[in-house]
């Protein structure tokens, strides 16, 4: 059995204790709400998109250490990025969570994961993958609302 130290890495606990980009954004920023019906976690993502770039992003809601730290790291990673870069990052993260696969002939896209690498251990605890992915699906929804 994988140990809890694979899951609760120090950087994850740091983002959980002091989450980045907490708050709300007023319109014209768009928002989307995500729920994990299993555990009751709720998350709201606010996204301000200008000229194809996510110029600001905020996160509110409550949840477990994995869902909250994932949201915090995600907000850091996507802020200031183009929508194309964000799509690539979301895909890369979902591959890491083993819920998406690269096609065999897919072009190699360099995506820097940074702090997000710390969430790699989550995949050894399949029940928690939904926690880690909640904010990412909610961001996707927000970006769809923006376009």
């Amino acid at each position: 059995m994988p140990g809890l130290e694979d899951l609760y890495r120090e950087i994850i606990l740091d983002h959980y204790r002091t989450p980045r980009n907490r708050g709300e954004l007023a319109p014209p920023a768009v928002m989307a709400e995500g729920h994990n019906p299993l555990c009751g976690d709720e998350i709201t993502i606010y996204a301000q998109v200008e000229n194809g770039v996510l110029v600001d992003v905020k996160v509110s809601g409550q949840g477990c250490s994995i869902s909250q730290s994932s949201a915090s790291m995600m907000s850091q990673a996507v802020k200031g990025k183009s929508l194309g870069e964000i799509q690539a990052l979301i895909h890369r993260f979902k591959v890491m969570m083993s819920i998406e696969e690269d096609a065999d002939d897919a072009p190699v896209v360099e995506v820097k994961m940074g702090d997000l690498e710390a969430l790699q251990g989550v995949v050894k605890f399949p029940v928690r993958i939904k926690c880690a992915i909640l904010s990412w699906n909610t961001l996707l929804q927000a970006l769809e609302n923006a376009s």
């Binding site: 809890l4 009751g40 709720e42 477990c64 250490s65």
Partner: protein, 413 residues
Amino acid sequence: MNTTRVDWAAVKADFPVLQRTIDNQRLVYLDSANTSQKPNAVIDAMTDFMRNGYAPINRSAYRMAGEATDLYEGARSKVQRFINARSVNEVVFTKNATESINLIAQTWGRANLSKGDVVVLTHMEHHANIVPWHMLVAEREIELRWIPLTEDGQLDLSNLSSLLDGAKVLSFTAMSNVLGTITPVKQLCAAAHAAGAIAIVDACQYVPHNVTDVQAWGADFATFSSHKMVGPSGVGVLWGREELLEAMPPFLGGGNMIADVRLDGFTTAELPSKFEAGTPPIVEVIGLGAAVDYLANIGMANIRQHEMNLTEYALSTLSARYGDDIVIHGPRNVEVRGAVLSFAFRGIHPHDISQILDEKNVCVRAGHHCAKPLMKLLGANATARASFYIYNDQTDADALADALDGASDIFGV
């Protein structure tokens, strides 16, 4: 309460899954309010039937089919005696308590409720006793009213008569799956009737743990699930007063629920077949019969006493060890609560608590417990919940208390 001596260690030994170890640690199963483990008696009854006598019920003339029908109907008689129903005709097998409540809402509800009619629920209901009524709000524009809670998680009955004024239905839990609160069922049934309403008792947390007497309650309907009372999943019970069931339209249509089918229509079978369309879960019903025998043999009064003792021990152990760092929801008095402990611990999210307890093989539920409106009242999106049953003992409560220390270590609180 009259109780006799029960060998609880022998009871525990009847549950083979509790012999399982993971990482060389024993299993501490504290999720019985969710679903219970199964004793050999139930597993054997189901296996034996499938190995040696599996056959259809109510429709074939050969001997083995007759035996199967006898076993199936025998289980119905066992359930009837177990809850002191007046007649076997009042015991309908469904899929689970959820389906039982949906059946009431969709048949009795549709036949008797129209725009503006009032259904009274409580703030401690789980989704199974909320959503079927919301569906009727959407379809029939009925009105829902809610009995609020007191500070310590009991029903606040101070405005009961005005809430019930003009109501047609009072539907409430006999025991909260989150707070453990045992509600005054008899009093609520009487109040409903005084107001001209029918009383529906969601008893799925109550029947597995207490002496149940639906006639003494004075209820009109009661619902519960096999899987929470050491029986298999896939079967539940709807008990209803015979005259109400007689007057209700059928629920699902199909074989077994008909007396006659013509090209231009059908007539329904007599009770209880009227509400049992299609081939029922035969194996599971026979398993439920064995579960009822198993529980009755221990004695429901003994079970209640065992759980009161265990709840008292768990409450005082956790409070003594963690003081204000642990908040246990629901009444402190074990006379009015079952062995369900929902708690908050040092600000650590319940999902993380559950993960860390799992490291010690301590199985608890983390989440909203299918009771989101109640969670909102508690000011939480989720709680961790430990629930105890006949196969738990003080060492399990100790294991829970010990394992919580691990959560503090990881989160540094």
